[in-house]
Symmetry: C2
Subunit: 294 residues, 2 copies
Amino acid sequence: MQRPTDEDFAIRLRLDIAYDGTDFHGWARQAGDQRTVQGRLEQALGTAARSPGQPPRPIAAGRTDAGVHATGQVAHLDLTAGQAESLLRRVGADGVARRVNGVLGADGDLVVRASALAPAGFDARFSAIWRRYEYRIADAEAVLDPLQRRRTLVVPRRMDDAAIVDASAALTGLHDFAAFCRPRPFATTIRTLQSLSWAREDDGVLVARLQADAFCHGMVRSIVGACLAVSTGRLRPDGPARLLSDAVRSGEYPVAPARGLTLTEVGYPPDAELADRAEHTRALRVLATELSSP
Amino acid sequence: MQRPTDEDFAIRLRLDIAYDGTDFHGWARQAGDQRTVQGRLEQALGTAARSPGQPPRPIAAGRTDAGVHATGQVAHLDLTAGQAESLLRRVGADGVARRVNGVLGADGDLVVRASALAPAGFDARFSAIWRRYEYRIADAEAVLDPLQRRRTLVVPRRMDDAAIVDASAALTGLHDFAAFCRPRPFATTIRTLQSLSWAREDDGVLVARLQADAFCHGMVRSIVGACLAVSTGRLRPDGPARLLSDAVRSGEYPVAPARGLTLTEVGYPPDAELADRAEHTRALRVLATELSSP
């Protein structure tokens, strides 16, 4: 069977998705038997749309790594007329979430929270204007809660909140985050870190909240790891700021484990600006690719 | 080796404990290979006290069933002088929690949150004056969160909050809860349900909170099950109240699954009243046993 071409697609849907990433090898579908979020969702969509051989392929705003969680992932997917007929029949676009959860199991580690017809020009990845992540750390100050352990890093010592906040301050704004990213060919590492804040929850759990236009690969976990390394004395207080001038990823400190990280929200512009935003993002990518090419 | 006698024990500790009950066959140690909270904790205490052959045995305030969770379980345990020497050496009573977590793993499904010398007369089970439980239900009104699924019952329909609250009202106070309990020989089923409230969290999850002097076996899950059965129409609005006059457990409605249930807190009187309270509770049990005997 041929893969459908652009002309074959009749309808684009937006899905809001949540998952416990512990038992997934990340978002992106891989060759082989690895259990991925995209792969599992595609499979369930194929079943629900009665199109198991050629399932609709969801495209996500954030391609989370193995073990990373999401409460606010967003994806789009394109349906052929036949798939739309099967999937939307009797329930409409809003009912697709429940139909897919019927296949996935509503109490499993992956659920679709909401589904809707995508507004014109909507692209889950390229229309997004910001992403928010949160990183949870239970240090010696926190009350341990086994029911939250799958989304929380446990460290046996007491973290130094003031040192962490100080070290973080220099990182916000527009920078080349090359030293905080796993390199990808032809991908720019220039990003705007719009905010980076730290707070203690009522139970003493230390939570970092980060927002950027986009994050490059491994960036949140590198930033969190560098800040924790300042607290433990492995990096000097000006270490994270100093790293901003480096062109390659540092080995001076450990990257924070996936376990504590959750994608919590993705922001989009008003509907009228969706297509322009996607066009703009794609153009920047083409430019970055050309500049990176030899 | 002989089990130590009362005279052999030098020190009583109080432990505050939390667990994700999903992978435990309940609190109580059982014959065979079943993984239980008491068994696992005993094993870790034996290792930490260098007394693996004769480990200290923790006694809990609430003997939770298979699959039931706890954030506020309380236990006491008695140490021989030799065990106390090994377990408390250099860290004191407060340091026992960290020492035991070092064996259990602080990011596992069972942790000791705090440890202390028990005040005189303290008995985790018999000194307690109340227990609090919480039951979480994600119905069609709630936002599904896979990261909270292990402690949350998911039901596909919309629960009727008003009907549930109305049905609950008749249950508080002093009653014979025989119709809501799994019978245990020589155990009274007369209890005071001090409070039973229902609330929606910010994410729409429906949470029942119950407090009683003590709960008999299966009582919380039966009460929650009966209230949900009113919402689904399986029981009439006056069904739960009517059941109070029954002498045996009803089969008219399903008991709520263990998954949604968490023991959140145990209350004790001021230290000066601990011994009297324990004596009083034990005397009531003896009386109940004599009254129940033929």
